[in-house]
Symmetry: C2
């Protein structure tokens, strides 16, 4: 995928359409799908998970799906120089794909109402396809994955976005998925299965604003959408004169010249060279500070997160009933972007962050990534957390969004966007940088440059 | 770094200048520097290396520099599904930087005549700066690194190229260096130290053609040079009508539209998704098939490579005398690019290859990467090796180039470029693809897309 964007004008037009005759009530559709299926999720001891074995690592007897191992980390980034932690290892590359098609000239996106066992709100809008090779090669003997063919080699139509992007690098080791948006021609018939609905970006934006309605996998794909092309200037639609949303769109449509992208790239390499990271896979029993027994894998002080077992019964997933381990974080995660009008355009404060599971050590994250379970005490809290107490008039977005409900249990993250007044002065260290949304998007399109937390926030800024 | 190239016209102009009054005889300069210094390299047992410890890993007592560990590999790429091997672990990001400056309007490059203990030809042209953090923070108490400031944050001038690029992924785990070309203004005085000389790209090309004159680190930086910008069309200088070099330049200047880059990127992700790789760090004593004793670490059948100790005495390096482990490969490595005029332009056959030490599993390599020590027998030889026996009239380049002489001992790799007649038909599997040099260069500028072997070949195609 190149930093040049595909279909920016069409994406923008779709974002301006708040409703569609194809799915007149996007909230009602989700509620109806929720009522039509039954789910039961129950916590069970790890040792009681059929076909999973807990030894030096926790893994499935088939060797497929994913495993949990220990990780020993040393770094000079942040206040804690070394620690051990469990980490999910899943080397497969899954596909997160959204199918797009024009109806009456307006781009719609085929979203799946999907139940995931870890989500607090069970049924959410997911990508059209969300499948690991284990899924689509049907290792567990389930149903075939609908619409998968649209995303496979040889049968694809017009690729609007296609990039490998990282996922939660504090919980996953080197995990990345393939994020795709593929457009089919307007005259091509696409059958709509029961759990699926065509939505405009305007409708998706409303669902994102409500919180816990658009799942993590859909949000990361949506973060690949570009509304601006280099050299397109900054014309905002006439319908948006003034206000935060207008400023957001202007920021999307100000990617800056190629020199800006070079400058950011060089700065990001500077940060990679500046910080060290040594992460080494170890046995689960070798982890200092962690308890690993038949029930769960947990920190001795109850901090960070816990690896638990769950049993799931559902009618709307590939397999009706199954067991699996999940990662359940301590409650209270917050991610926040601070923005401010600077040099005439709204710019967002990105932070270059080292995380142990990243493919290349460091990516751009949000201004604040606050993980209560990660600290020994307030002395370790990350920079800028005081802005989470900003006056209400500075808050532009505050919604709860879920993390991947297929791996993480009750992992709800508060998403906050804070706009500083133009005359507010703020000092940040060299690993922070102000960027337009257009520039962030161009970085994202290069792959492995934006972490999933900042992508999730950016997706809410349609 | 963006795929948009900086200074393509200036690079091309420099490549057309075969001589320079600043360094009238580039070969003589190298010979003179060779005579002015003395070197003595002697093999010693690993156990005799002062300050190195051989246990479950081989490492320096300071914890710096690099280490050698075991790696257990499983993959479905290639004929061997699993193996163990030693691998060099060096997580630091070094700087490989070439300083550029115009003299009488022509870009010159400040090259260092550098001795490296592993090279068969001791003194070669190296980048202006070739330094790991261990070097430039002077862990071993040596001299400061000249010209380093030109490449550091805050004191840089015009950055023409800046990208993290992978290195030998069969010998190094996740190794990458920062490849930089930085231009200083024509009116800025740059003192020239004893071992340094300003050369044009034309002069460097001649040295590359002679073989074993331009070291690996310089070649990888030179591979970042672009001669074509998107949309520039294909005007070749008038002085080059017809012939292989003219076709090479035309290929450099045909990057293809943005859609080509998207298409290659999507195809490359397809290959990443298609092949699996699981590489796990293990202890040196856990490696099946390898002997690890006081003398060396070697394969029981004498295949692949050997980790040996060397003692070095030199007058022209940061430290006058030192000891270190080195990797000595079996002799006979060959890398080759097959090219053919297709659809009017010379295109090169790149191969998407899984290698265990790559940061993200798979990168583009040459058409043929033949490593004699890697095979159980001819049944394992890679595809297309029969083209190494092509008629002499098809051979466009055949030179021996050295690998990094700071880590590898007597690692000489034969570089071959073979041009197939237009009517010659060749069938290749889906993980091979024909690309212009311009398109390969654009991929290279995105980072982690071209392995060091194909970059080294591309650098010879100035």
């Amino acid at each position: 995928m190149t930093p040049e964007a595909c279909g920016a004008e069409d994406f923008l037009a779709s974002a301006m359409v708040p409703g569609s005759p194809l799915t007149p009530d996007a909230s009602a559709f989700l509620e109806e799908r929720h009522r039509s299926a039954t789910y039961e999720v129950e916590r069970v001891p790890l040792a009681a998970l059929p076909q999973w074995r807990l030894g030096e690592r926790l893994g499935h007897v088939s060797g497929r799906f994913f495993g949990v191992e220990g990780l020993s980390v040393r770094t000079d980034f942040g206040p804690v120089p070394q620690w051990c932690q469990p980490i999910i290892v899943q080397p497969e590359i899954g596909i997160l794909g959204i199918l797009a098609k024009r109806f009456d000239g307006v781009l719609h996106f085929l979203m799946q109402a999907k139940m995931e066992p870890g989500n607090s709100a069970f049924v959410q809008y997911a990508a059209t396809v969300q499948a690991t090779p284990s899924n689509y090669q049907r290792v567990h003997g389930g149903r075939s994955t609908p619409y998968l063919d649209y995303f496979m080699e040889g049968t694809r139509r017009r690729v609007l976005f296609d990039q490998l992007l990282s996922e939660h690098a504090s919980w996953y080791l080197f995990k990345r998925n393939r994020n795709m948006i593929v457009e089919v021609r307007e005259d091509e018939e696409v059958p709509v299965e029961e759990d699926f609905a065509w939505l405009t970006l305007g409708q998706l934006r409303d669902q994102l604003g409500l919180g816990n309605r658009v799942n993590m996998n859909a949000r990361t794909v949506l973060s690949g959408i570009s509304y601006g092309v280099p050299g397109s200037g900054r014309p905002s639609p006439e319908s948006l004169s003034g206000g935060f949303r207008s400023a957001v769109l202007e920021s999307h449509r100000t990617p800056g010249p190629a020199a800006d992208l070079s400058g950011v790239s060089t700065w990001l390499i500077d940060q990679k060279a500046r910080f060290s990271l040594d992460a080494r896979r170890i046995g689960l029993r070798e982890m200092d500070g962690w308890i690993c027994d038949d029930d769960s894998i947990r920190h001795r002080d109850g901090r960070h997160f816990e690896i638990i077992g769950v049993s799931v019964r559902a009618t709307s997933r590939e397999v009706g009933a199954w067991w699996q381990p999940m990662l359940e974080p301590c409650a209270g995660n917050v991610v926040a972007l601070i923005c401010q009008r600077r040099a005439g355009v709204l710019r967002f404060l990105a932070q270059a962050m080292v995380q142990p599971g990243l493919t290349d050590r460091l990516e751009l994250g949000p201004s604040i990534q606050f993980v209560p379970g990660a600290y020994r005490g307030p002395q370790d809290h990350p920079l800028l957390t005081e802005y989470l107490e900003a006056p209400e008039s500075w808050i532009r977005l505050r919604t709860v969004q879920s993390e991947d409900g297929g791996r993480f249990s009750r992992a709800d993250t508060l998403h906050v966007v804070i706009q500083l007044p133009e005359d507010h002065e703020i000092e940040v260290p060299g690993n922070y940088r102000w960027m337009t949304l257009g520039l962030l998007n161009r970085m994202n399109r290069l792959g492995y440059h934006l972490n999933v937390e900042v992508r999730s926030l950016a997706a809410c800024l349609l």
